[in-house]
């Protein structure tokens, strides 16, 4: 067998081997799955579906982490239960969504007859501002004294009332 053929085969084999490694890494990249984020509402966004597609690819953790990194000095660092059976419970705010309710898979499981099983959730938006949202609960979620109808940013120290439980965000 000629020297040239063997050299071509040798280099070709190495190339094919590395191609497999690269293809495998590409599969890993496309395999990152998480939550889907679809843009809608703004007409400009709707006209560009590719961009929305690209948004879908972004794993949610990254967004949350970058949001956490951008928080200012006055950002709350913990959630404190100040009234109710869970008084004194604190949860560190680290960019994760906190769900509240009687369902046992909630972040804070409320032992409260007036709370719904999936009552409300608290999450950071892209700028690290914490938002509280009522999840269609029976008795409603109150921020200060007003009943929530839309997702609302939470001021520092403002009481959020769910049934007999009151929570607030603190530094």
């Amino acid at each position: 067998m000629s020297e040239l053929t063997l050299t071509v085969m040798r280099l070709g084999f190495l190339a094919v081997l590395w191609l497999f490694v690269i293809v495998a890494v590409q599969v890993i990249r496309s395999d990152l799955f998480g939550t889907r984020v679809t843009q809608r509402g703004s007409r400009r966004e709707a006209a560009r579906p590719q961009q929305a597609q690209r948004q879908q690819q972004a794993p949610p953790q990254q967004r949350q982490q970058s949001a956490g990194g951008r928080r200012g000095r006055n950002a709350p660092t913990k959630l404190v239960v100040s009234e109710g059976t869970l008084t004194g419970t604190t949860v560190a705010l680290q960019g994760q969504t906190i769900t509240l309710g009687r369902a046992h898979d909630s972040t804070i499981v409320l032992d409260d007859d007036y709370a719904s099983s999936r009552h409300a959730r608290i999450y950071p938006d892209r700028d690290g501002q914490w938002i509280v949202e009522d999840l269609g609960s029976t008795n409603g979620t109150y921020l200060d004294r007003s009943r929530l109808t839309t997702p609302t940013p939470i001021p520092l120290g403002a009481p959020i009332r769910i049934g007999k439980t009151v929570i607030e965000l603190r530094k």
């Binding site: 497999f20 490694v21 495998a24």
Partner: protein, 478 residues
């Protein structure tokens, strides 16, 4: 979960969970690729050594393809959401191993040592894939293994002690890690003990991890565990030392202790366990090396391979020339290698196709090829740890991390030994090296990882309507 958020730029976005695609077709495409590469390598070896395409090319390609196909169909049927990369990566490594073993079979300088190792290895691979299929069929849920926590401990101990029992022990070249099975040949029970021990550690640590993580004092930035919590780690340490002393097998001992430390760290998130583990393994290794001649000889060969080579050439008993020859093989391979079938790594002689098989890769594929092989191992480990991250139950998390940690440690121990980074120990490179026990046990390991990843990646069932939903009391304005 679907809801709307208002960001300051007045976009509205919907966040909803994506159903995980099953990725079986990706796996099939990669599998075809993973079968084509070894067939190419096989043709290359034939052309380089005998100047003609090897006669068995078609049957070899069909054999490997059949194994991959059976594995794929079993995964498609019994674990449809499993990770798409594990099976192709293992198939490629197994195929490349078969090619290099066949290439060493062709060497006239070696033919006396292992006649026809490649067909036997193909048979072992078939047994391994059969075991993988059996794991997928019979292990419907990996959490079943949790029930057998202490039985698997007993099983692992039995497997580890077997090579010491006089009747069935088959000590070979200084290490007592084989047993004889009459009529079938020899078996290395340690490879199977690896899996059983991972099951035991996962089940044990899942129960005890809170005690190990929380009941501790803080001292100089380290969490010191309580004395009674040190019990299990001491027991495992003593056992791995005993393996080292009685079976004179550094690799197995390091593998088991290392696996325990990795799982302990993952279970408790305490760095102090790693510090303790490293100190204890260093103390144990140094202590044993001070009186065990077999270990001393390995350390000598590691520190001064050239001297060992010269002593061995003079015909002095108890010295080895292999370590130096492996280094020469890597050196003469250079960056791009000499080409398959065109190196002289068969000069290593004994164990060229088992412990030292990486040296052949190093010589004939060069640095570029060895890096690719190590990356393939790295990808398997990455998929294992990814599976562990995605697993929803603590037992599955620990088991996946333990199995992939053991796999990674085994690759490190044998590759580091052949390359002269650490003293050489008699372990096999998973999937690549010649040896039935190793190939079969590692296919079973991949089977368990596939099962855990199938459970972890399966889309969660829709939340059941909550039975206590009606029990929420309504506030009535009085």
């Amino acid at each position: 979960m679907s809801s709307t958020t208002n960001s300051p730029t007045h976009h509205t976005s919907t966040i909803g969970s994506i159903g995980t695609p099953s990725r079986r077709n990706t796996e099939l495409a990669l599998l075809v690729f993973a079968v084509v590469i070894p067939v190419f390598a096989y043709a290359n070896v034939g052309l380089a050594i005998n100047d003609e395409l090897p006669a068995g090319l078609l049957s070899y390609g069909l054999g490997l393809g059949l194994l991959a196909g059976v594995g794929h169909l079993a995964v498609r049927k019994f674990a449809p959401y499993a990770d798409p990369l594990l099976l192709p990566l293992a198939t490629l490594l197994n195929g490349l191993g078969l090619v290099v073993i066949w290439r060493l079979d062709q060497s006239k300088r070696l033919s006396a040592n292992y006649p026809d190792a490649a067909p036997r290895q193909l048979l072992y691979s078939a047994l391994g894939v059969a075991l993988l299929v059996a794991v997928l069929i019979f292990l419907k849920d990996h959490r079943v293994l949790q029930r057998y926590t202490y039985i698997s401990m007993a099983g692992a101990m039995l497997l580890l002690v077997l090579p010491l029992i006089p009747g069935i022990s088959a000590p070979t070249y200084g290490a007592k890690i084989w047993i004889k099975i009459p009529g079938l040949g020899t078996l290395q029970p340690g490879e199977f003990a690896k899996i059983a021990l991972a099951v035991f550690f996962a089940g044990y640590l899942m129960v005890k991890r809170d005690a190990l993580a929380l009941a501790s004092r803080r001292f100089m930035g380290l969490y010191l565990p309580r004395g009674r919590d040190l019990g299990p780690i001491l027991v495992v340490w003593v056992l791995s030392i005993l393996i080292l002393v009685f079976e004179t097998d550094l690799g197995t001992s390091l593998l088991f202790f290392g696996m325990f430390i990795i799982m302990l760290y993952v279970a408790t998130e305490r760095t102090s366990w790693i510090v303790f583990g490293l100190l204890m393994s260093a103390a144990g290794a140094v202590g044993v090396a001070s009186f065990e001649p077999h270990v001393q000889q390995r350390v000598q060969a590691w520190l001064d391979p050239m001297n060992e080579y010269l002593l061995s050439r003079k015909g002095i008993y108890g010295h080895t020339e292999q370590s130096m020859q492996a280094l020469w093989a890597f050196g003469s391979g250079g960056t791009l290698g000499t080409g398959l079938g065109q190196g002289n790594s068969d000069l290593i002689g004994f164990a060229a196709n088992s412990d030292f098989i990486l040296a052949t890769f190093g010589e004939e594929l060069g640095l570029a090829g060895v890096m690719a092989i190590l990356l393939l191992y790295g990808l398997i480990v990455e998929r294992g740890i990814r599976t562990s991250l995605a697993a929803r139950d603590p037992f599955g998390k620990l088991l996946a991390v333990g199995l992939s940690g053991a796999f990674a440690l085994q690759v490190f121990v044998v590759a580091g030994g052949v390359m002269g980074l650490i003293p050489l120990t008699g372990m096999t490179l998973p999937f690549v090296a010649y040896g039935g026990s190793s190939v079969i046990a590692n296919w079973a390991l991949i089977g368990i990882l596939l099962r855990i990843s199938d459970t972890a990646r399966r889309p969660a069932p829709a939340p059941a309507p909550n039975p206590d939903a009606e029990m929420t009391q309504v506030v009535r304005p009085s």
